[in-house]
Amino acid sequence: MNFVCNTDMTERLKKKVLIIGAGIAGLEAAVQLMNLNYDVEVIEKENFYGGHVKQWFKTFPDFQDTKPLIDLIAGKPDNLNIHFGSVPGFAEEQNGIFHVITDKNLHIHADAVLISTGFELFDAHRKEEYGYGIFNHVITNADLESFFQNGFPETGKLSLRFGFIHCVGSRDAKAGNLYCSKVCCATAVKQAIEVRQHFPDSEVYCFYMDMRMFGKQYEELFQQAQEKYGIHFVRARLSEVNQNFDQSLLIKVEDTLTSKPMKMSLDYIVLMSGMEPSVSSQSIATLFGIALDNEGFIKVSKPFIAENITEKKGLFVAGTATGPKTITETLNDARSAALAVHQYLNSK
C-alpha cells in the first residue's frame, strides 16, 4: 500500500516551535525554522518587532540603517505569526509537548520552545555620580541614537564639546556587573564619528579603560575616528560629574598616562550603558524551571558545543539572552539555534 501524503496531512504533521521574543534573534530563528518547514509562532511583549536594534539609528562598523536590516531579516512579515503585546504567564511540559498560556489567555502547544528574550540596557541612573537624570546634558547612548533619529534639542551653541564615557554598568563591580558588554566601545567610536559629522565644529573626547575593538573593521574604524575625525581618546575612568555656573558639565578624571589629575568642561556627556540580563529572561527562566548563570543570563548546557541548548530538553535559547553579543553574533547564534531545534525535532 502506498502512503499518500496530501497537504492537509503535512500541515498536521508539521511540528510547532514557539519563539519567545521578536528581536533580531527571534526573527532570524523564526525565518530559518519556517524555511525548514516548521510551524512557527512568536510571542513578543512589545507592539513591534526588531527589539533594541529597531531603536538604534545606525549599525557599526559600516553605518548601515537599521530599518532595512530588520526588514531583510524578517523577510515578508505577513508570513510571520507574531502575537504582539503578550508574555507567557504559564508553562508546563508533558511528554515533550510544551503547553504555554500567555497573559492574554492564548493557548499554545509546541514541540520545542526557543527563548530569545534579549537584554536590557543598563539603567544609567544607578551610576548616580555620573549625573544621569540630575543634569540635563548627561545622556545615554540610547538617548543619542534617538537624537540622531529625531533631531537634537536646541543648544544655541555651534561648537559643542562631547565626552563619551565607556563602561557604564559594565566591568564594574560597584554596578554588580563584572563582564564586558562587548558592543559599547565600537558603538562609542561610531557615535563619536556621527557627532563629528552632525556638528563639524564640535570637539569629541572618549574616556576609556581599554579600547576593545575586537571585530572585523572595528580597529580600522577606531583609526579613522582618530585621524579623519580628530576624536581624542583618553585612558581614564570618570570619577564624578559636576556642573559649572554656566550650566556646562565639569568632569574630573586621572590622565593615567601622564599620572596627573585632569579636568575639563563639556556640553554633553554620553554614557555608554552596557547590556544587562533582561527581566523577561529571568521570569521566563523561573517559568520553565531553568537556571541562570552567575551574571544572570540564561545558562547554556555546555559551553562551545551546545551554546543554544538549555538544561531542559526541548528548550532552546538564542541571542543576547545568554550574554552580550553584536548583531552579527546574534544572527549567527539564531541560525545555530534553529539548527539545534531542527536536530532535536528530527530525532524526536
Partner: protein, 113 residues
C-alpha cells in the same frame, strides 16, 4: 637648629586643565604629519628608544604632552632625540615619528617656551 620653617605651604595646581590647554602646536604638527593622530600611547617607541636609556626621552610622552599643551615638556624631551628612527620602525600604528620630531625641532629652534 634646622632651617625648616613650620606652617603650611601652598602647592601649585598640578591638574591638567583641558579647557585652558594650548593645542595649537598639536594641531599644526597633526596637519603636517596626520599619522600622529593615530597614536594609542602603547609605548613601543619609548621602549626601543636609544636615547631613553640615558635620558628622559619618550615619544609616548611627547605625543601625550603635545595633546595636553605642555610645551615645556615636549621641548625638553624632543631635544634628547638623536633621530635614529628606531621608534618609527616599531610603531604599530605606523606613525612617522621621526618626521614628527624633525618638525618639533624646527618649531623649537629659536623659540623659547
Amino acid at each position: 637648629m634646622s632651617d625648616k620653617k613650620f606652617g603650611f605651604s601652598i602647592h601649585s595646581d598640578r591638574q591638567h586643565n583641558l579647557d585652558l590647554a594650548d593645542k595649537r602646536l598639536y594641531r599644526k604638527i597633526a596637519l603636517m604629519e596626520p599619522s600622529l593622530q593615530r597614536c594609542i600611547f602603547c609605548g613601543g617607541c619609548a621602549s626601543t628608544c636609544t636615547a631613553s636609556a640615558f635620558t628622559q626621552m619618550s615619544f609616548r610622552l611627547i605625543s601625550l604632552h603635545l595633546r595636553r599643551g605642555n610645551l615645556k615638556e615636549v621641548k625638553s624631551y624632543a631635544s634628547k632625540c638623536m633621530l635614529c628612527g628606531k621608534c618609527t620602525m616599531v610603531c604599530p600604528r605606523d606613525i612617522n615619528i621621526r618626521h614628527v620630531i624633525v618638525l618639533l625641532k624646527k618649531e623649537f629652534s629659536g623659540n623659547e617656551f
